[in-house]
Amino acid sequence: MNSRTEHAPIIHMDNIEKHFGNVIALAGVSFDVSPGECHCLLGDNGAGKSTFIKTMSGVHKPTKGSIMFEGREMHFDSPRDSMEAGIATVYQDLAMIPLMSVTRNFFMGREPTKGSGPFKRFDTETANAITMEQMKKMGINLRAPDQAVGTLSGGERQTVAIARAVYFGAKVLILDEPTSALGVRQTSNVLATIDRVRKDGIGVVFITHNVRHAMAVGDRFTVLNRGKTLGTAQRGQITPDELQDLMAGGQELAQLEGSLGGTV
Amino acid sequence: ADIIVVSHGQASDPFWSVVKNGVEKAAADTGANVEYRAPETFDMVAMSQLIDAAVNQEPDGIVVSVPDADALGPSIERAVAAGIPVISMNSGGAAAKSFGALLHVGQEEFDAGRAAGEKMAELGGTSAICINHEVGNVSLDERCAGFAEGFGGTVEVLPTTNDPAEIESKVQASLDSNPDVDTVIALGASLAGEPAVAAVAALGRTGEVNVGSFDLSANFLQAVADGNATFAIDQQQYLQGYLPVVFLALHADYGLIPGGNVPSGPNLITADKAAQVVELSAEGIR
């Protein structure tokens, strides 16, 4: 695996705060990702992970704090801006339109075209073929590319979102609990995919609640708790059990674990 | 004989429902097969399409009202070109004649307005409001314009919707904020005339403020009879429905047609005559 001192970070978030009305979701979080690194963002439910990566990808405007992208300070006004800068995101809610077909969702906002001038049109055949192929790579055999996303199963839908982000991923790939609804085979595929894109020099931000998934691909681990950073650790500096304790907010899990037999 | 009547007033409009009753009576009297058609709002484009539809059915005669000669002209010309006799009624007599209509039964809205205005001026009015419950309906606009000309004094147009409660409130508001107003003219008796009478009464100014109205309604006539309102202007629209149909039926059967226009109004109904008309109005004949 790459060692992180090799490269300057591609994105660096400094002391980010985010308030919603009177709710303080983030109370100062710093974070960075380097090219070719998989940085896992971990933490309890409601810790602020999703809110944090949404400020990174331009959905939310930070209340305070700065975002440096490739060394320059950036103000993303919309997700389109961050996308153009080279950040691809799988949101926890997937950002899909249920009434639209799989293909149309896959290419939403970045449609392939053929023809030119006024006859430049959506290249349906190419789009369909790419969609089927990318989905197959992730272990899902779609019945037809024009099925509405709303009628897909939970895991199928999640796979579409991941395949899309990976296909268009440029410099940074952000994955918010990408494996939560996936089957065994699909999960393996996604983890393998993370491994592959990282080797291509892309920076990956990976959010998960599964310690084993995190340990399988992570180079660094940052744990959030109640809107604050609890700490960051390099791969090898921390055991799975320590990490699990951190993720649960440092609480005593021994008793529960005992009754259920080890790491969950 | 097959005769089609195309007007610009909806069947639910109190004025036009009387026209339609006249049409039906004529159909019963002559034995002709008569259809009455009108667009559901004041819509000249739709009305010209209805005339076209009538022409396509090649009846023995067409009766039209002509509130917008430019918009309806081509359709009327098409009817005439098709050899269908056309009689105009209610409005637009002169224009219709130029398109080839045989004659006109009715009264120009502008003239009726002027007659009302002159009467109100004669009663001593100096400042008036004209309640327009369908702004942009050209025939109503003309009534107001004619009224202004005949009246001479200041005339303020009060635009409202079709809702009697709102009209009553607005008339009240208008009288309240402008105490000089001594005349109220409504463009429709049941929609605007009755609420206007109620508003004046609510302000305790019955008798001080003269209320007049176009067209008739039983309640308004009752108010005229009781002295709460001054007059109602009747254009005897029953005739505008009845006569053209009878003329066209006779024309179809025997080739008969009168030689000139029939003016059906205006006809001011004041306290002395009002009581007799109430019952007829309640039956939709006046």
């Binding site: 009305g21 | 079709n162 039983a218």
Partner: protein, 370 residues
């Protein structure tokens, strides 16, 4: 929605202190109050002072009340995720039914009023049944009923009057009926005479008070708004309405009887229309084929001004209450000003826009950002 605020006992470092003002402004109906204040201030400066005399107040409140009763029905239905475009036609149709009951058949009010409400509920039920059975959008189904009921009113009127479009004589028919004062005219006339004698309110030269009482529709309006607000925020049924409108699928999966809720809302809305019909027919003593024309539209406007979402699942009855008042004030208030009446529609539109933009701005400023 805003009903359940408890004091959480422990404090949480993830929550900022919030002022009372902010907390109040989060409620949808209070945004509408901001609109009312804005409109009032505007007219205080531009309109004839007569507008804010007691008589002027009653004068703009009574059309607002009639609209408001419809708007509350429309708001409940919109929160429940459906529309009723046949509301205005229902006013005419129920008015005809009521008028015919009273005049043609001479039924006393004690029976005529419940009969009319029952009849309206049946029509509402039919609307709802068609929407629910066919799965068509309520927009298109009730639109068909907009036409059908309007047409039937015309046909029925002609039948009931032998050819006229106006049915009259209601006032004579209900003369002396003890129920009539509850549904028409002014309430508390005695009180107002007393007030006038005490010199507390304006009188005409002859000593009778300028305002003879509170028009009953205003009282009905307030009562109905309070009941609707109570039902919506405090009862299980209210919770079901929000749930059905928010996501019918999720609600049904959670055990909310969505169909029954929607059906009942269609019936309630139709009854609101019938209520307005009864009040206006008794007040004016007659009914005609144009009654309630386009009221469905105005009712939806008032509900939306009051914060209802067109997509359902969000809104408040009190919001619709204030929305109707805003609309009524603007509608009548412009007559009290000096503006050229040709510009009337321009001002109406402009005022509406400013009122909603303003209340929206306040709410946004107060509750946070992207």
């Amino acid at each position: 929605m805003a009903a359940d605020s408890t004091a959480t006992t422990q404090t949480d470092e993830r929550i900022k202190q919030e002022s009372l003002f902010t907390r109040l402004m989060k409620r949808p109906e209070l945004g509408a109050i901001a609109g009312v204040i804005l409109v009032t201030v505007f007219f205080l400066f531009t309109a004839d002072p007569a507008m804010f005399s007691l008589a002027g107040f009653m004068n703009f409140m009574s059309p607002a009340a009639q609209l408001g009763i419809l708007a509350i029905g429309a708001a409940l239905l919109m929160v429940g995720g459906e529309f009723d475009l046949s509301l205005g036609s229902m006013v005419a149709f129920a008015g005809l039914f009521f008028g015919a009951c009273v005049v043609t058949f001479g039924i006393p009010l004690l029976f005529a009023i419940p009969l009319t409400l029952l009849f309206a509920a049946l029509v509402g039920n039919l609307n709802g049944q068609i929407v629910l059975r066919t799965g068509l959008p309520s927009f298109i189904v009730t639109l068909a009923f907009l036409f059908i009921l309007r047409g039937l009113s015309l046909v029925g009127l002609k039948w009931a009057t032998d050819g006229s479009t106006q049915l009259r004589g209601v006032r004579e028919a209900v003369e002396g009926d003890w129920l009539a004062p509850i549904f028409s005219g002014e309430a508390f006339p005695g009180l107002f005479v007393m007030l006038a004698e005490a010199g507390l309110i304006d009188t005409f030269k002859n000593g009778t008070p300028k305002v003879q009482g509170i028009p009953v529709e205003i009282l009905w309006f307030v009562v109905i708004a309070l009941i609707a607000n109570y039902v919506l925020t405090r009862t299980p049924y209210g919770n079901w309405i929000f749930a059905s409108g928010g996501d019918a699928n999720a609600a049904s999966n959670s055990g909310v009887p969505v169909r029954r809720v929607k059906l009942s809302l269609f019936m309630i809305t139709a009854c609101c229309a019938a209520m307005v019909a009864i009040i206006t027919v008794l007040d004016s003593g007659s009914t005609d084929a144009r009654r309630g024309f386009q009221k469905e539209f105005e009712a939806i406007i008032a509900a939306v001004i009051g914060g209802c979402l067109l997509t359902g699942g969000y809104g408040s009855a009190l919001g619709a209450f204030f929305g109707a008042i805003i609309f009524g004030m603007v509608l009548i208030g412009l007559t009290y000003t000096d503006i050229d009446q040709d510009w009337y529609l321009v001002f109406l539109g402009g005022m509406l826009l400013i009122a909603v933009v303003f209340n929206n701005l306040i709410r946004k400023r107060v509750t946070g950002e992207r």
